[in-house]
């Protein structure tokens, strides 16, 4: 059934409305009534049957931005000229089909999405614009005020076809074939005849719903997930509708897939616009899935691409400026930044597939991309490790939340370069303290990248050489000891005498030497033992004395035990160190120490 046919079948609609079960006393659904008994999908099924072949017409592929001084800029993604329009703005513009609905100065106006020319304007009585839908012939607009909500259905000529006022909270509508789909009370979607205002069907959803959206020629309802308007919609109240959601996983900030349709969105982007989640349902897939097997999150200027089934991180893109809006498109994600740059990232790799300039800084943007497909990028992608490194080494406090998440992702990569990145972050005095803590924790669990760790251990604090931070000696010591890396021993022994490393680092370096120290380090171990057994300034250093004692016992079968015994018997030995040494002596026989590891015990690389 074509759109034209539907619009011409008002008599049929009336019949349909009259025939649905569980209606009001008059036999018809009372619009937005709450005494309605769920009809098990009968009415919405009938609406679906009626609209089965009435695809929503494609919306304009367009980015609409708000710039300084109530300037509205329309940037087509395909052909066509960029346009500008001026209108007072008290809410963010809404792209609906072929129109752009703007609100301000107590009126709403529809602009032609192709040219920006005003098609019509209607007074709002001070109500706020929430959302809009359009099928090429009529535009449905939802408004909210102190006393309730209003649904306004306007023809292309500006004539009001239907106006419904309700005390219910209605969301963002969509229009298909003259039927207006209105989500309300977060659980219902009512199908309203655009010409008569009659409610001709209703569905109860098992998901929170406040938006009806036309995406790529398919109608969806949702807020936290997408529910497709298809054959299965009649089973929606049983939870059996076609549905796709973004998998639960840790994300930077608290991004939302869809802004609630009941929420007035300000014309200027705010913090919530810098923390977004994007995903596009694939209208052709059965069961319903996410386009390109990807969903995306943006956090200030970092963009994440996730595999959509399990939520694994696929790529990271670090953008030069803060991103303030965007949308998932076919084969990628489109974003705009506050400098007025539009960037399209490839779904699979996160590479920049397309860039476009709006020409001036912007305050917010909205995107509609029904048919636009991200072009294939020409360059070859960087590895995920490289991408994460780029993102986590950006020195901006606002990015710390995202960077912490990325560090955890980095720690899961087998790539040796991930180890180097963790070392670099932990060694850089400009790194945020929380990142340093995370990087150190991750580094201690690494079991590859030993060459990078050894290179790092070769460095020491050196004021004259402007090396003003020590390497993360403790975590590296943990990792290299676990890897049984014998080359680490002399380097760790040298760090025992570096006053710039932390006491915790000393403790862990000593613990590692207890495992991987060799006879070659005995002179240094004995020197440390003597220097600190009585002067250990902290418990960590005292424990380090214990570990060094353990190494001496193991490595010096002739004099080690007597040295340790003498220390235990000397009242000048620190009590913590003594307790540890006593325990060691008790645990080892008098026959002398074990032999040090003579060859590498196959560390995992």
């Amino acid at each position: 059934m074509s759109t034209r046919t539907i619009l011409g079948s008002i008599a049929f609609v009336t019949f349909l409305s009259a025939s649905v079960s569980a209606c009001g006393a008059s036999g018809r659904l009372r619009t937005f009534s709450t005494d309605w008994t769920d009809d098990q999908g009968a009415s919405i099924g009938a609406v679906y049957d009626r609209l089965r072949n009435a695809e929503p017409p494609p919306s304009a592929d367009l980015v609409v931005s708000v710039a300084e001084g109530n300037k509205i800029i329309g940037t087509p993604l395909g052909g066509g000229e960029q346009w500008t329009a001026m209108h007072a703005l008290d809410a963010r513009p809404v792209i609906a089909g072929g129109v752009v609905v703007v609100s301000g100065n107590k009126e709403i106006a529809a602009l032609d999405a192709a040219t920006g020319k005003q098609l019509w304007a209607r007074p709002t009585g001070g109500m706020s614009l929430l959302g809009a839908g359009d099928d090429g012939k009529i535009t449905a607009v939802s408004l909210a005020g102190a006393g309730g909500s209003k649904l306004l259905v306007v023809g292309r000529d500006g004539s009001v076809k239907t106006q419904i006022e309700t005390d219910k909270s209605i969301g963002d509508p969509a229009v298909v074939g003259g039927v207006v789909f209105v989500p309300w009370s977060h659980q219902y979607v009512s199908a309203i005849d655009g010409a008569t205002g009659d409610e001709i069907g209703r569905v109860t959803l098992r998901d929170k719903v406040s938006r009806a959206l036309s995406i790529g020629g398919t109608l969806y309802f949702g807020e936290l997930a997408y529910i497709r308007f298809d054959e299965k919609i009649r089973d929606a109240s049983k939870g059996l509708a076609s549905r796709v959601a973004i998998p639960q996983r840790e994300l930077p900030g608290t991004p939302r897939l869809l802004v609630p349709g009941t929420e007035k969105v300000p014309p200027v982007a705010n913090a919530r616009d810098r923390d977004r989640l994007f995903g596009r349902p694939d209208g052709t897939s059965d069961p319903l899935a996410v386009d390109s097997n990807r969903f995306y999150a943006s956090y200030y200027r970092i963009v994440f691409g996730f595999e959509s089934k399990r939520g694994h991180l696929a790529w990271v893109h670090t953008h030069p400026n803060d991103l303030i809006g965007g949308e998932a498109v076919l084969g990628g994600v489109l974003l705009c930044d506050e400098e007025g740059k539009i960037v399209v990232l490839d779904a699979q790799t996160g590479q920049v597939a397309m860039e476009k300039s709006i020409g001036e800084p912007i305050k917010s943007c909205v995107v509609e991309a029904d048919t636009f497909r991200a072009p294939k990028p020409s360059s070859s992608p960087k590895s995920l490790g490289q991408q994460i490194t780029e993102a986590v080494t950006a020195k901006e406090a606002t990015l710390a939340t995202a960077q912490r998440l990325l560090l955890r992702e980095l720690a899961t990569l087998e790539d040796e370069s991930a180890t180097k990145t963790l070392i670099d972050i932990a060694s850089d005095p400009r790194s945020s303290p929380v990142l340093v803590t995370d990087a150190r924790a991750a580094l201690a669990t690494r079991r590859n990248g030993a060459s990078h760790m050894l290179a790092a251990l070769g460095k020491h604090y050196d004021y004259l050489k402007d090396v003003l931070a020590s390497p993360p000696v403790g975590p590296i010591a943990d990792a290299l000891a676990a890897m049984k890396e014998p080359q680490a021993a002399p380097l760790l022994a040298a760090h025992l005498f570096d006053p710039a490393i932390t006491d915790d680092d000393v403790k862990r370096a000593a613990a590692a030497l207890a495992v991987i120290g060799t006879e070659k380090e005995l002179p240094q171990l004995k020197q440390f033992f003597a220097m600190y057994r009585g002067t250990a300034p902290t418990e960590e250093v005292a424990l380090a004395v214990g570990s060094v004692g353990e190494a001496i016992l193991r490595l010096d079968s002739k004099g080690g035990r007597s040295l340790v015994e003498a220390a235990v018997n000397d009242p000048m030995t620190n009590s913590v160190a003594r307790a540890r040494l006593e325990a060691l002596l008790a645990a080892t026989d008098k026959g002398g120490g074990d032999k040090p590891p003579t060859e590498k015990a196959a560390p995992k690389k």
Binding site: Y461, Y463, P499, Q527, M531, Y532, T535, P537, M572, T573
Partner: protein
């Protein structure tokens, strides 16, 4: 000074000073002090260190015993006392263990060890002090820089220049004490780039060093750099130098200073 450990030392007697000299240093039984040091008893060690500190360099023969007890390990308080004692004994025998403690994690111990090294001198002192120029603590760096001058570690001058460029101001005076002609001119070249007081703390010793160490030509170049500055502070400095020039100062230097004083009079502040 190589004295047997058991010799009873009377410093005043050894020095044979005249009546005008300060009060005589108390006599210390070095042999007994060494015995106490080896006792392993905290109180006895403390007492021995007290005695040796009072004796000072006259008890230098006990330095190796102090070094030994320190190298075996002491409490923090005793370690600090032993380090100070080694400094007071001024024996190179103490420098090796002091070099070790110059890297200690306890700042007070590190500072004390660096100070002591400047007095013990010895083979280990210069490398340890050069390492200490890179210490995280500014006071340790400053003491190390001063110490390198005090022990006449000429090889350390390049390091001292790096330290000076890293705001270790004490390095300037040491450079002034140790520099060769080229290095002295390099120091003078810092005028106008580093604070005046810092640079002149190094130029002053240059001007007063004997001509066998710093030639008149070099001194005249340094004076010329000060004269070029033409500031009131340069004038004050030169005037001060002029007033303190020793009698044996060459006429060339004296004339150069006098002319520079005149040339810088009335200069900007």
């Amino acid at each position: 000074m190589a004295l047997a450990a058991s010799i009873l030392v009377g410093v005043a007697g050894v020095a044979g000073v005249a009546d005008a000299q300060p009060a005589a240093t108390p006599k210390v039984d070095v042999g007994s002090a060494v015995k106490k040091l080896k006792s392993g008893d905290e109180a006895q060690i403390r007492a021995a260190l007290d005695d040796l500190r009072i004796a000072g360099p006259a008890a230098a023969s006990a330095a190796s015993a102090v070094a030994e007890v320190l190298s075996k390990g002491l409490t923090e308080a005793l370690a600090q006392q032993a380090i100070d004692t080694l400094g007071d004994l001024e024996s190179p025998d103490g420098s090796a263990v002091l070099a070790q403690y110059a890297t200690h994690r306890t700042l007070a111990i590190r500072r004390a060890a660096v100070k002591a090294l400047t007095r013990t001198k010895g083979k280990a002192a210069a490398p340890a002090l050069r390492r200490a120029l890179s210490d995280p603590d500014a006071q340790v760096r400053g003491n190390a820089a001063s110490g390198l001058g005090a022990i006449k570690a000429k090889d350390a001058v390049p390091d001292l220049f790096v330290a000076l460029d890293h705001k270790v101001n004490e390095a300037a005076a040491s450079i002034g004490l140790l520099c060769n002609a080229q290095q002295c001119e390099e120091l003078a070249g810092k005028l106008g780039k580093l604070p005046f007081d810092v640079v002149t703390s190094g130029l002053e010793p240059v001007l007063f060093r004997p001509s066998s160490e710093v030639t008149d030509d070099t001194k005249i170049k340094v004076i010329g750099r000060l004269r070029e500055l033409g500031t009131a502070e340069a004038n004050r400095f030169l005037k001060d130098v002029e007033g303190r020039l020793p009698k044996e100062t060459s006429p060339r230097i004296r004339q150069a200073v006098e002319q520079a004083v005149k040339a810088t009079m009335g200069g900007p502040q």
